[in-house]
């Protein structure tokens, strides 16, 4: 079996992009939202989250800005860029095809 983190890393990028697409968020909020929207199934720790965020920023798909957060502290907010939006659409489509294909095989008796 290949390293589990490989697959998760790619999909984690997708999740982050999707979540930020709705509104800019900081890392803590993103992790919380992922947990909430997946019904506590997906719990992303900071060790996976922040490297992913920095990588996405490096790739130019998300932008960072320091703003005042809800608890009156400074936090780094990430927002989707235009190329990020395009990437999101592409990655989402790819995920659709991939997961459908896998389900087809796995669900067959």
């Amino acid at each position: 079996m290949s390293k589990p983190t490989d697959l998760v890393q790619g999909t984690l990028d997708l999740l982050i992009l999707k979540i930020i697409a709705l509104e800019p968020m900081h890392g803590w909020a993103i992790a919380g939202r992922i947990r909430q929207m997946s019904n506590d199934v997906l719990q992303v720790g900071q060790s996976a989250l922040y490297p992913a965020l920095h990588k996405l920023e490096q790739q130019g798909w998300i932008d960072a800005e320091w703003k005042l957060s809800e608890n009156n502290r400074r936090a780094k907010y990430y927002a989707l860029t235009r190329s990020g939006r395009k990437a999101l659409a592409k990655e989402a489509g790819r995920w659709e095809r991939l997961s459908t294909a896998i389900s087809l095989i796995v669900s067959r008796a």
Binding site: H26, Q46, H54, N71, R73
Partner: protein, 896 residues
Amino acid sequence: MARWLAQLGLRLRSLFLKARVERELEEELQYHLEREIEERRAAGLTLEEARLAARRSMGAIAQSMEECRDMRRVNFIEHPIRDVRFALRQLLKHPGFAGTAIFTLALGLCASVAIFGFVDAALIRPLPYKEPLRLVTAFGTRPDLAQSQRRGYVSYLNFLDWRARNRAFSSIAAYDVRAGFTLTTSAGAQRVSGLRVTSGFFRTLGVTPALGREFHPDEEGPAAPPTVVLAYSAWQTRFGAKPDALGQTVSLQGAPHVVIGVLPRDFHFTMAEHAEFWATIRGTQACWENRGCRSLETVARLADGVSVQTATADLDAIVQQLRSQQPDPNPATAKLVPLREVMLGDVRPIMLMLLSGAGLLLLIAAINVVSLLLARSDSRTREIAVRHALGASSARLVLQFATEALILVAAGSVFGLTLATWGMRLLSSLLSPDMISRMPYFEVIGLNVHLIGFACAVSVIGAVAFTLAPVVRVSVSEPLAGLKEGCRGSARTTWRRFGSYLVVAEIAIAVILLVNAGLLGKSLYRLLHVDTGFNARRLATLSVSPVSVPPVSIRPGPGQAKAVDADREQPGALAREVAERVAALPGVEAVGYADLLPLSPGLAPSSGFQVVGRSAGGVIEDHPVRRVSAGYFTALQATLLRGRYFTEEEVTSIRRVVIINETAAQRYFPGEDPIGKSIVIGAPPAREIVGVVADIKDGPPETPAHAAAYVPFDQVGFGLVVRTLQAEEPLFPSLVAAIREVRPGLLVQGETSMTERMNRLASASLHRATAWLVGSFAAMALVLSLVGLYGVVAYSVGQRTREIGVRMALGARRRSVYQLVVGEAARLVGVGTALGMICAVAAATLMRRLFFGVQSWDAPTLATAAALLIVSALLASYIPARRAASVNPTDVLRAE
């Protein structure tokens, strides 16, 4: 595009505003931690518990931060900088290792770069002509000699026909080999170097003058006005490099020559030997009007698309045409030789040998450094194992090794190149001006693009090797083995064995260099002490001629010169007068003269030998013939084997007698007495053999013994040999003055002692230089391999200290410890020496052309080299042996 710019912006920001970026990263993760704590507080835990729980859930923050940094691709630049700092710190902490490695590398690089500088100047740098590979020299020769001959002469009249009739050359020109002019200034007359050329000479070479112009076609020939082109150096020294030199006149050979041009600074022509003045073939000279007087060498440029074969065929047709039209003894076939080969052919094998020698030295240096690195990585196994355990990837470790290797190589290169520049300057200064004029491409030696490229290439290869060595070492051994105390893994013995292989290789290489240096030295000795057949000590030589006739004719055929000079001189009269005058001088013991002196370079006039009363058997062999005086052999102190020398009367009346040398006697009269027999030399009538003399070296000393004959002198110009009672030097002024008094307008030149002539011979100087260089390589190689041997033996002793302690505790005596250590060293040395001997003999056999009078398997040389190596190696291993034997067994066992 915008995305790429944004990315770049981010990266640059990470790089330059590093502190701020770090702070932001920390702050970001800190925020996350605080939210975690808040959440847990909200769930009811105390501050402490919340903090602990949060920390635990977040895991290793440091690692995440590192990963984030990785994502920002900052580490591409960060890590190398850190690696360099670490490597530098390591090297400074171990100055002994660093110093030895850098010094060894510098030494190897210095030698190879310096030699490569000369190789580049001679063989790689193109000649200063346009498209030099299209240039050839053309000459006529006998078909049976065509294969081996590289240079040959042409007569002026033949050359004119070649120039007019050929279709294969875009241009052809010639130069007269009888070089030199008499320059008359207000200070008097002096001999200067110069060459006479045909008008198209510089055009053929593709050389444009730096100033002025080259010759016009109408500046060549009997009615041409006298013009001269200056060499750049002559323009600088004699005319102060002023542009108004053009139009001024220079008095050469008594005639005012107008300066029409100056050659470019980088121009050189090997066969011209630093000619200062270039004039044309003009006016009348007996040799140029005689089709049989061959005094020119040619330079021709192949026309576009014409090959050497086509051109040779074309020229051959012309040669045959001329032969059928003229009754003269013309050569039978044409030969073309690339000009580059004529100029560089002699020097190439020597350069290659020196380059191989330097290369071997570099190899030893590299092997030494590899050994050092292996020994050092041995002591670093603990450090590396720890780093590995802490999570360093193998890529990072390899990069670390690579950085250290690069730093070592870079430092070694810097020092090596600096040393090489000094080395090249030193070697250049050792070349005598004589040698440089014969090899003008050596005038400018210095650091250039080729050399730096060579040094870089070598450095890169070295860096790769020096990275691989410790990497392989570390990956082969068990990664965790280093963590254990007092580890004695099998990897250690493998590496010890590998280390000893390296030393064996080093010793073998040192042996190769030593043996070849010894062979070269012995060869040089043989060359300088070759049996010349005469006594060279206290022998003065010089040449004499009337100005209108060439100094010493290079190739008059038998009877040719006579026809030329008959209307000018009673042949031999001038020489007799001069000889009588000189013999009367105080300090002179004996005088003799000949048309060509012994040990003369170049081609010798030869004629066919035919014994009367015997059928020739089809082939008439040519052998050199010298025209000599009665007192010639006595002055030389040659050895008379049979019969007698010429009498004065025989020489005066030019009797048809001949003296042959020993080889000729054995060749033509084996087992019988040649005295009284008749032999035809050249053309009939036959001559009577009156004496047999032991072989005299007529040409360069490395020519093998050949048959030769001596006939009574019948020329005008001659070479004089004077046996002096004391040293030759002080006598020259009075000699020259006395000779000039005999007749006005006599040209006296080339006054040297015979020993000086021998030392200055091209072969001797080149041999000497090569012997010295290879000798120094051998010395350095010996030192380096001894250092390597010492290192390996000392290391092995260090490894086996405990074993030795145990042995001694069990009762072994000091002597057996010595035997153990020295025995191990002796085994290495023995194998290395044996291997080296075989390779050395093989290498020497490949280069046997460079040796003189010495076999490739010369036993004394091999034995001396082996003895030298073994003795020094044993001495080198004595020190660690002593240290081993003085080990205190109780101390060793206690440290366990």
